[in-house]
């Protein structure tokens, strides 16, 4: 019993240290991972869909491919389409029944505003609110922008409106404790997934 007590104490100490590091160093960086100051503050076409009292994250990544090669993977986003290009094995632990398409599927290449996009099987959904092929795709404010750096390089910028500020204590615990870090893990995974697939495509 003494060993068990000691193990529980060490684990709690490890957890407290992890939480401290996360809040002081990690969270401020992951909220704008990869994005420049200019990109964070830049007005984007789908900003009008975001209510002003929301916590907003802006993240960005370089893709060594023209935006026409990145776009098809964004166009087929959704559990009911080509997946989210993220960690599908992690999504499936939560029963999402996610399958990431490994190729571009022609029938999913023409998303239009109003299309329903599922986040997982029996889970939430959102409708597409804005589409500009090769430029912009928005799911109720969660927006993906492709900016051409030059003919062979693209900047993928994702802006996400998450929790409204001033929520109840329990909602805040859920949001800051689980949703926010998990969303970062999945969104950054998605950005790297799109980058990987666009860059390997010939």
């Amino acid at each position: 019993m003494k060993h068990i007590k000691r193990f529980v104490s060490y684990t709690l100490f490890f957890y407290a240290t992890t939480a401290l590091i996360y809040w002081i160093f990690i969270r401020p960086l992951h909220l704008s991972w990869g994005a420049t100051f200019k990109e964070i503050n830049k007005a984007m076409p789908a900003d009008s869909l975001i209510s002003p009292n929301r916590v907003v994250t802006t993240r960005a990544i370089n893709i060594q491919a023209p935006r026409e090669r990145a776009w098809p993977w964004i166009a087929q986003t959704g559990q009911n389409k080509g997946g989210f290009n993220s960690y599908h094995w992690l999504e499936n632990l939560f029963g999402a029944s996610m399958v990431n398409a490994d190729s571009i599927v022609r029938q999913w290449q023409h998303p239009v505003p109003g299309d329903t996009i599922y986040y997982g099987k029996h889970q939430g959904y959102q409708t597409i609110s804005l589409v500009k092929p090769n430029e912009c795709y928005s799911l109720g404010g969660w927006s993906f922008y492709l900016h051409a750096i030059d003919s062979g390089n693209t900047r993928l910028i994702i802006r996400y409106p998450s929790m409204e500020v001033g929520q109840s204590r329990w909602t805040s615990i859920y949001y800051y404790g689980l949703f926010e870090p998990l969303h970062f893990i999945m969104e950054s995974g998605m950005m790297m997934g799109i980058k990987h697939k666009a860059e390997r495509q010939k």
């Binding site: 029996h122 950054s188 790297m192």
Partner: protein
């Protein structure tokens, strides 16, 4: 000879059983969570390693690793509270069942009783999940089943059997001590 005499019911109090029953599953939940944490960090880090160029890897590896650790930690604290409660109740049930059906502290009976009790509780747990989460429970993927139910069930079985063994050992020790004192 081992196995003689009837046990004094107050040798290990309900309070002690409740406390130990709560502590052990809490430790088991933490251990399981740390294994999950390590698994997710390693697997996602391998993906990152394959996707990001050398100069841009380290920051995302740190951010991803700590975000995984932090979210698993929060989830494990919530689950530890639930499992402590379940463990404490299980310990009390086990104490009653063992004292009732095995007053002579026989080891083979301990194994059978603890295993049967754990299986019965797991069956009730599974049925309750089926009733309340019917639409959301999906075992389409073996890893989903193993992660949420398979591995925790195996850990629960192990903890119940080992806990019962320890309980019986403590009772037997006290009993023998009592016998030698009275002699």
């Amino acid at each position: 000879m081992i196995g003689q005499g009837v046990l004094n019911m107050n040798t290990i109090s309900d309070k002690v059983m409740f406390y130990r029953g709560a502590l052990v599953p809490m430790a088991a939940t933490f251990a399981y969570s740390i294994l999950v944490m390590i698994y997710v960090i390693i697997r996602s880090s391998l993906t990152i390693y394959g996707s990001m160029p050398k100069g841009e890897r380290s920051l995302i590896l740190w951010l991803n690793g700590f975000s995984v650790a932090y979210s698993v930690m929060i989830f494990s604290l919530i689950m530890a509270m639930v499992s402590s409660l379940v463990g404490a109740v299980t310990a009390l049930i086990l104490k009653k069942v063992l004292l009732h059906f095995n007053p002579q502290f026989q080891w083979n009976k301990v194994l059978i009783i603890s295993f049967t009790t754990a299986l019965a509780l797991l069956t009730i747990h599974y049925l309750l999940l089926r009733i309340f989460l019917n639409g959301y429970m999906t075992f389409d993927y073996p890893e989903t089943f193993l992660f949420w139910w398979g591995f925790p069930a195996v850990i629960f079985l192990g903890v119940v059997v080992v806990g019962s063994y320890q309980f019986n050992k403590a009772l037997l020790g006290q009993h023998l001590k009592g016998n030698s004192t009275s002699n």
